[in-house]
Subunit: 520 residues, 2 copies
């Protein structure tokens, strides 16, 4: 596979067997501003009989009736997170039916999907498109167990790929926490309720065949519909979609780690200094470590100053729901709900709006939510002196993360703040060059660590405002040197650059980076 350098100097292929041609990344908006246009591919209209019995006897019968064959593409959503039992169950059925060489296109892979590594080894799965990979699957891919490189997409990039057909779904399997016999379904209700079905909505609209699988069949009409019946071909009842405790977890706790709290407070001070924390502010923050703590500072400040924001968006935590219910936001745009309180809010609050993946972040539609964001706070595995961010490969070069909405929100937000400790487990978080670029530095405005705040040189006015607010602003090269005096300089990853195991797509479909084979 011949590699060429992209605009970041990263080596990427222009043509990949079985996947086709790719364009190298050329800048945040380069492809879009050139007037990129792709046909949108949706399944044909089909004649139907009058009343349809959509209920399939069991999953095997549904797979047979779907027309799924070896070499086709199947999709899943990951709204059931670490509790999902459906994806491995369906692959097991496929294997029993002798279906092989599938392209697996879930919105992401979680800890519940360790079995995928074995399905790869046994030839059931040949190609994978996903936002993230972890554990055994990440290792299997990193070792080169898949012949065809895995394609890593962002959430917005996935909507784009499905709509333009570069992911062309033959059969979508939708885990449906509540469903009626006609296929009207939602994730807001039911024992395995997960909240928003944002990713699944996109699959349902574009897949050639849609199978809803539910452990909670209710009589028609289901009174809260997230995906309407006319997008669903079959309904299958199964005993359980998964482990409710791992699906709708308790509310995420604010960290008590003093380093994280220090980072969070400084991140908040940067946001305040930016001048964006005014009436009408829109805001996204993740659930991990320092991120949620930033929300706490923001919330207290908004309450204190009487500020009313416009919307919160993204993966939604119970903390954001609390802010909605306190009137600090007028609405939440929810593409993925992180806990049980969020699920219940989707069912209850009209201004808690379930949005699909395209609405959330597709760069190629008529305006997605992330393009209206004021502030996003993002975690990272590591960053480099060019502000490029890696959220995908560990310091050993092994795949163990997810692209998610990282590059989508960073590109869209007026202020993108990356929060991370300056080192973890003795390994520095600021590198000369991150192993894998997931979010280009051009879209990252500031990196906040406990040792200081590094402002992207593209934003001199922000650096000045931060300094004016009493923050310790440091050059990212100096921060790196300072940390390396403590930790030493880590060895570069011993990757085999002759063997590409994964491709990192930017949201517009161009290639940001390649992930290479490592021993693991």
């Amino acid at each position: 596979m011949k590699l060429v350098p992209n605009a970041l100097g990263r080596m990427v292929p222009e043509e990949v067997p079985e996947l086709g041609r790719f364009e190298p990344y050329g800048g945040l908006w380069a492809r879009l501003e050139r007037g990129y246009e792709a046909p949108r591919l949706v399944p044909p209209l089909k004649g139907t009989s009058r009343r349809k019995d959509k209920l399939a006897e069991n999953l095997e019968a549904a797979v047979r009736r779907s027309g799924l064959e070896s070499g086709m593409t199947v999709s899943f959503h990951h709204h059931l997170r670490n509790g999902d039992a459906l994806l491995p169950q369906v692959l097991g059925v496929c294997e029993n039916l002798g279906i092989r060489n599938l392209t697996l296109a879930p919105s992401s892979l979680t800890d519940a999907h360790e079995a995928v590594a074995d399905f790869v080894r046994r030839g059931v799965v040949r190609v994978i498109h996903t936002s993230g990979v972890r554990g055994e699957v990440g290792k299997a891919i990193s070792r080169g167990e898949l012949e065809v490189p895995v394609v890593i997409h962002s959430h917005g990039g996935r909507a784009r790929a499905i709509e333009e057909g570069s992911i062309s779904i033959d059969v979508a399997f939708l885990a449906a926490p509540a469903c009626d016999p006609q296929g009207n379904l939602t994730g807001a209700l039911g024992p395995t309720g997960c909240g928003s079905l944002g990713y699944a909505q996109t699959d349902a609209r574009y897949a050639r065949h849609v199978v809803a699988v539910t452990d909670n069949l209710v009589p028609q009409p289901l009174a809260h519909v997230s995906i309407p019946q006319y997008l669903v071909d079959q309904v299958v009842v199964t005993e359980s979609l998964g482990d409710p405790k791992k699906i709708a977890t308790g509310a995420a706790r604010i960290t008590r780690n003093p380093v994280d709290l220090r980072i969070a407070e400084d991140a908040f001070r940067v946001i305040r200094a930016s001048g964006l924390l005014e009436n009408g502010v829109s805001f996204q923050v993740g659930a991990g470590g320092a991120s949620l703590a930033v929300a706490q500072y923001v919330r207290e400040y908004m309450k204190d100053k009487g500020i009313v924001g416009s919307f919160g968006c993204g993966g939604i935590t119970g903390y954001m729901v609390q802010m909605l219910e306190e009137g600090l936001f007028k609405a939440l745009y929810d593409v993925q709900s992180f806990d049980a309180a969020v699920r219940d809010s989707v069912a209850k609050n009209r201004n808690h709006i379930e949005i699909d993946q395209s609405w959330y972040a597709n760069p190629l539609n008529r305006g997605c939510v992330v393009h209206d964001l004021d502030v996003v706070v993002l975690a990272a595995l590591d960053v480099d002196v060019d502000f490029h961010v890696n959220v995908l490969t560990g310091h050993d070069g092994v795949l163990r993360g997810a692209s998610g909405g990282h590059c989508d929100t960073a590109a869209g937000a007026k202020l993108s703040v990356v929060v991370l400790p300056s080192f973890r487990g003795g390994v520095p978080s600021v590198k000369d060059r991150v192993q894998t670029v997931v979010t280009p530095g051009e879209s990252v405005d500031v990196v906040v660590t406990e040792r200081g705040v590094c402002v992207n040189p593209r934003r001199p006015e922000l650096a000045e405002a931060a300094r004016g607010a009493g923050l310790k602003v440091v050059d990212i090269h100096d921060l790196k040197a300072q940390v390396e005096r403590l930790t030493g300089v880590p060895e570069p990853v011993a990757a085999d650059t002759s063997r590409v195991v994964a491709l990192v797509e930017y949201r517009d479909g161009t290639l940001l980076d390649s992930v290479f084979r490592v021993d693991c």
Copy 2:
């Protein structure tokens, strides 16, 4: 234009200049069961810049920016009913800009659209696709003032036509009673609030360019979204979308006309006799004359017997909302809201579900709501001894009605009941042959008049049940003879069968009938 007989013996063209080829009607499900398949046409994905200013200065600027040119297709929704000011306003702007020969594809034309006749005469409009026509426009078409025959579609047929591209919308203009600057919009809120935007949802998803026009711009985020921002290209603020009094009217009153009440009671008795009025019953009824009174009898019966239905659907009246709020239905599927109480219920009741035109009645998707209907009660202008129903042309042959969901619900429901007085203004309602077939007799189970109940011979068990319930069941030929003894036999319409002025499409796109030129 060469005409051929279809399966009902009605003469229809197989090819129409500027409109292309048509297939003659072959039976209720013939085309679908043959495995009809059409590509679904959606606009391409397009590169966009980061943040878009969607706000256009005024309607003229929006039309210019939309790229609308002579000969293209524009669409509108008729949710503002007789109060709509937008359609004539947009056509006026087009005329000023020198845009001519437009194809006009509203979901329907109402009394607010009399000016369309003049736009036709002045060459601004050349082709019309609509569910209905009335008044001056109906006369202009009937006289032959349009060179190209007007295409009359049902609501389900329109969704099919738009999705398969036989109506290929270049620019959709959406009257938006509440809208934010990104184009998130709803009809459930605002001074010209109309309730559901079911028809507009289909336009927004398939048009190549979408202009939202609002008299109620709210800051992002609008907290109740019927059409999401990512389907909208431009937002225009106008002073008023129309006359609120003619948009959201007071609740329709139950008729006090003794003939209508007699018909309604007998229709109710037929429904009860059918055995369908049990727990889980689904029900649709219109707003006119006897129809709403049927709902009254049904409601009292359900309350009395403790029956809980599944859903009510269709154009929704305040009466159906009352039944929802009393717990007689579990949900309403609302494609069009008939009064202010309904609009407010859309905003308030989670189980009052706004459905799009395809979900409502498209025969070519994976299952529309009307296919799950148990009972529908429908009005008619006249019927014939073959149970064919005309809701389109008056006894003078002039276009003055609307296809609406008539043939969609009649085909889908287990029991379709047509209610009408046996004569009106001295003209009998039962003919040997209706002037225009809109709903084929095969899908009509029973015709209820004040002089007796005529059961379609295809339903002998229903006739028996009706007789068993003490209803006066009469042969439709006998009823016709009986009425004609009072009224005499009306003269046939003096239509010029050499000149087709309108085509009546069945919901599957085949041609049911032709409307011919008359002097008027």
